[in-house]
């Protein structure tokens, strides 16, 4: 059995097993075990991958498995991973694992909750292992849909509205995506040769430039919507605000990464020429959303909204780096995805735990939590520092790689935008410290806070997992960035084949 297929099978099996569980206790135990296995498996995958590479295997994708599915359309079940997907899979496993524990005490329809959560995870895993555009798209939509139920049933606030909005906007995104993918398929091979959905095959062939011009926006925006590309990001604040804890974690932590990953795996990789030509538009958009999200976050009062907007800012940085299209920046983009995934998941976990105690998310109603729940508060501070890019935590590594990489461009346009983007680190500091100050420090605002308890054991598991991951990346980023760097080589070479040149505004 191919190891990658296991990543899809284990969750499905777990979901089934949950289906037969008697009560809440069994349910969550089964879920925890299943996802624990998944975590171990991905750890093993990282190990196996590195050993393979160390053994001198230079194939673009490893652990490939190919099964013909729809013959006449040449659709395959084709899986394989390179360093990038391995990293993303690792991220997913960590976040999902943490998410299970973060939602340890979901009582209402707990069985259904965990099933949908795990199905969502299945979609994500499938997306990251697929090399066949059709399968990729399939898993992509599988990942998007459980969201509706998860938010609609277990959410809070205007959950129906938010769930519907989120689902429809993401589906609208996949409408664009569908067009893009079909276009790619029908130009996937030179005339006469059989068409293919196979990512690697397509990358060997050059899609006609005029088609690229037409298809690139569809594909990029299609993925970009999930990556919270300005101005298509508005599903994110409402969705996150209404979603239950674990769902926000998975969604911001992992699902939004599908956008970035696809944008660069499919849009940029397969259509470099159009990417070069149209990059300036999207660079402007993303640079906007980097600052826009940050400034938007300053003004918010609801913790989840603050975090949602900071996600807009950080994911904007991901797309920004992707559009810079040089090795370092791309590397930074991947690391940023991982880092942001981890820390935003941590944020949402903490927010959920705090909300579960104080029953409010309004920062002006809270204060002095450091006294009553030191553990959670300290972790919150760590998450905050990671988010504002403190050295020794993952955020710094990602941002610096991106900035240095982006600044390697010689033209004023790229560099001005880069400097504009760097400005976000100050704004980030402002809103992070604002929250920390108002939420954790200062005198205790509300007497009944005095009776609140600190984190329970499962909450500690959930948060510590993430903190460890963040710190590990932040302290020793070299192996990760090397792993990614190697896998970036073919993509960068493909980009360098682009004949058309970058259109600069100035």
């Amino acid at each position: 059995m191919n190891i990658l297929t296991l990543f899809v099978i284990i969750p499905v099996v777990t979901a089934f097993a949950i289906g037969f569980s008697k009560n809440m206790k069994q349910t969550r135990v089964v879920a925890a075990v299943g996802m624990g296995l998944q975590l171990l498996l991905s750890a093993y995958l990282v190990y196996a991958y590195l050993t393979e590479r160390a053994a001198g295997n230079v194939a673009e994708m490893l652990f490939m498995y190919d099964a013909l599915w729809f013959e006449s359309l040449n659709i395959h079940y084709l899986v394989g991973v390179d360093g990038i997907s391995v990293a993303m899979i690792g991220l997913t496993s960590i976040v999902v694992f943490a998410g299970i524990f973060a939602s340890w005490e979901v009582e209402y329809l707990s069985r259904e909750f965990f099933i949908s959560l795990i199905l969502l995870a299945t979609g994500v895993y499938g997306f990251f292992i697929s090399l066949d555009l059709f399968t990729m798209f399939l898993f992509y939509e599988v990942a998007v849909i459980p969201m509706y139920l998860l938010i609609g049933i277990w959410g809070s606030g205007p959950k129906e509205y938010s769930a519907m909005k989120l689902t429809l906007m993401l589906m609208g995104g996949s409408a664009l995506l569908m067009v893009g993918l079909l276009g790619i398929y029908f130009y996937s091979a030179p005339d006469g040769a059989p068409l293919t959905w196979n990512l690697l095959e397509i990358s060997k062939n050059t899609i006609p430039v005029e088609m690229q011009r037409f298809l690139f926006p569809f594909t990029f925006i299609g993925f970009g919507i999930l990556g919270a590309l300005f101005p298509f990001h508005t599903w994110s604040p409402d969705g996150h605000a209404s979603a239950p804890t674990a769902v926000s974690m998975l969604h911001a932590g992992v699902l939004m990464k599908l956008g970035g990953y696809g944008a660069f795996r499919v849009a940029i990789f397969l259509m470099p020429d159009a990417a070069q030509e149209q990059a300036w538009i999207f660079l402007l958009l993303t640079a906007t959303s980097v600052l826009y999200g940050a400034f938007g976050a300053i003004f918010q009062k609801d913790l989840k909204y603050i975090n949602a907007y900071s996600s807009v800012s950080h994911c904007g940085l991901v797309l920004f780096a992707i559009l810079m299209m040089n090795q370092t920046a791309l590397n930074g983009a991947i690391i940023q995805m991982i880092s942001h995934g981890l820390m935003t998941a941590l944020f949402f976990a903490l927010i959920g735990m705090i909300y579960g105690r104080t029953h409010t998310r309004m920062i002006n109603e809270m204060g002095g939590l450091m006294k009553v729940m030191p553990f959670l508060s300290v972790v919150y501070v760590i998450a905050g520092l990671a988010s504002l890019g403190l050295p020794g935590l993952s955020g710094f590594v990602a941002e610096m790689t991106i900035f240095v990489g982006a600044f390697q461009h010689t033209d004023a346009f790229h560099r001005t935008l880069t400097i504009a983007a760097t400005a976000s680190i100050v704004v980030t500091a402002v809103y992070i410290l604002r929250v920390v100050g108002a939420l954790l420090l200062g005198p205790i605002k509300n007497d009944h806070f005095n009776h609140l308890k600190d984190a329970r054991w499962f909450e500690r598991i959930s948060t510590v997992t993430l903190v460890v991951a963040i710190a590990a990346i932040g302290m020793a980023p070299l192996w990760l960035s090397n792993m990614i760097n190697v896998s970036l080589q073919p993509i960068v070479t493909k980009l360098s084949t682009a004949t058309s040149t970058f259109v600069s505004l100035f």
Partner: protein, 474 residues
């Protein structure tokens, strides 16, 4: 012409025989024992369905009026599957007191319409086509008016018969011009003499609008909602999948076989129709509260998608259409099955009655969810594959913008499909529908559709099988 030639038209023969035998048996039975008809009929039909899959020589009868090709046989088999499910699902309803007098009629009429459709599908000239069409639609009117004590049923009947007669009048007017301009009603002759001369284009448009009525495309769809609502639910499902499916097959066959030289004409016509249909169907479906009307409009929107495949006019297009209709049969029957079961138990039809259904009847709810997801084209259920292949077909003809419009409409449709899910899972309800268990047969019917929804997508052999039998025009 020897006896074996009749094997070529075995679908029709078996059905004719079963219909007649049912008639006779019905005469023999006493009123109280009439419900024994049901097993007999079902068995007979199952027999027919099975025989349909036996290998057989393709052939031509009556000097080309009747021709049976593997493609057509496959289409008939697809329809058979649907009808079988419908028969199973309607068991619970047929055994009700009000119907026990006229159980046999139900089967006889339904078989007759089916015979009509089969003849239509195998038609080799417009005469046979017209005969089949009418044989299919006239009994349908009777079926729609089946519950003569319900005024709505009667209204559905009259609305259907009038509009269908009207539409076939217009269709015939078109045919008469085709005959006048080409000098023949044989498909094989017409195809050589057809061109885009104004009179012929006019004829084609009349013909298409006649067919569009059966497939219920905008603006020829208005009868649909009323008839669907008025007719007994199981009949409605028959309307929505079988008669629509047969009509689409027929439209596709004639366009491909007969009007292939003027594809540039009807492609544009269908383009306009499909956009209109998707948009209007969705817009109407948005605000429906009555489940039957809701499904009626959603099925109108689906018809718009079917056109995407037809207008391509290639093998890919035909495959995707047939595959989509197969999937659509299962999905729609799943939805209608749940609606009919609930209606028979509680008489409740409004979406609001479905609030909180999950807490009382989880299995039905899950089936309903699967069905609507499949209709909305959400993976991993079959509907996604069906839609995706339709879009692929359209894109293969370079109709990217149409694909874009279509997918946006799919998104809109997702909205109202999710409303159903929302009602069942999220909305609270003080007086939810009581938990209940249906009889075995109905359950089998539901299960069958559920299985179809689930398996069909992953089971690529089905698609390949259809693809091998489909023929394009180029």
């Amino acid at each position: 012409m020897n006896i074996y030639d009749f094997l070529i038209m075995r679908h029709e023969l078996v059905l004719v025989i079963s219909a007649l035998s049912l008639l006779i048996i019905d005469l023999a039975l006493k009123p109280e024992s009439k419900r024994h008809i049901i097993p007999i009929a079902v068995v007979l039909f199952a027999l027919n369905a099975i025989i349909g899959y036996l290998p057989t020589p393709a052939g031509i009868l009556f000097g080309g009026m009747y021709q049976s090709t593997p493609l057509v046989i496959m289409m008939k088999n697809v329809l058979n599957t649907g009808v079988l499910i419908i028969l199973l699902q309607s068991y619970g309803w047929l055994t009700k007191e009000e119907n026990k007098e006229k159980i046999a009629e139900f089967f006889i009429l339904m078989f007759t319409t089916l015979i009509g459709m089969y003849f239509m599908l195998s038609a080799g000239d417009f005469l046979m086509f017209y005969l089949g069409l009418e044989t299919a639609s006239i009994p349908l009117a009777a079926l729609a008016a089946y519950q003569h004590h319900r005024t709505k049923s009667a209204e559905a009947g009259i609305k259907f018969i009038l509009s269908s007669a009207f539409s076939s009048g217009i269709l015939l007017f078109g045919l008469s011009f085709i005959y006048g301009t080409t000098g023949s009603i044989m498909f094989s002759d017409v195809v050589f003499n057809i061109s885009d001369a104004p009179l012929q284009v006019l004829a084609i448009i009349f013909f298409i609008s006649g067919m569009a009525f059966k497939i219920s495309l905008v603006p020829f769809h208005l009868w649909t909602a009323d008839v669907y609502e008025g007719a007994p639910t199981n009949i409605t499902s028959y309307f929505s999948v079988i008669s629509k499916g047969a009509a689409s097959f027929m439209l596709m066959l004639i366009l491909f076989k007969v009007f292939s030289p003027v594809i540039h004409v009807w492609q544009d016509i269908l383009y306009a129709l499909s956009v209109a249909t998707m948009v209007v169907g969705n817009l109407f479906a948005l605000r429906q509260k009555n489940m039957k009307r809701f499904l009626a409009f959603s099925s109108i929107a689906q018809a718009g998608f079917i056109l995407l495949g037809i207008m391509v006019g290639s093998q890919l297009g035909m495959t995707s259409v047939i595959y989509f209709i197969l999937v659509y049969i299962f999905s729609n029957l799943g939805a209608f099955g749940v609606v009919s079961v609930i209606e028979n138990r509680t008489g409740k039809l409004s979406m609001d009655d479905y609030n909180g259904l999950y807490h009382t009847n989880p299995k039905l709810t899950l089936l309903m969810m699967l069905a609507v997801f499949s209709l909305a084209g959400i993976p991993p259920v079959a509907g996604f594959f069906g839609k995706f292949f339709l879009f692929t077909a359209a894109a293969s003809a370079g109709l990217y913008w149409l694909v874009f419009i279509a997918v946006l409409n799919a998104t809109i449709s997702l909205y109202y499909y999710l409303l159903v899910v929302k009602a069942m899972f999220i909305n609270k309800n003080e007086t939810p529908i009581e938990p209940f268990k249906s009889d075995m047969v109905t359950r089998a019917g539901l299960l069958l559709s559920a299985a179809g929804i689930f398996i069909l997508g992953f089971w690529s052999q089905v698609y390949e099988w259809i693809n091998n039998l489909s023929v394009g025009i180029f």
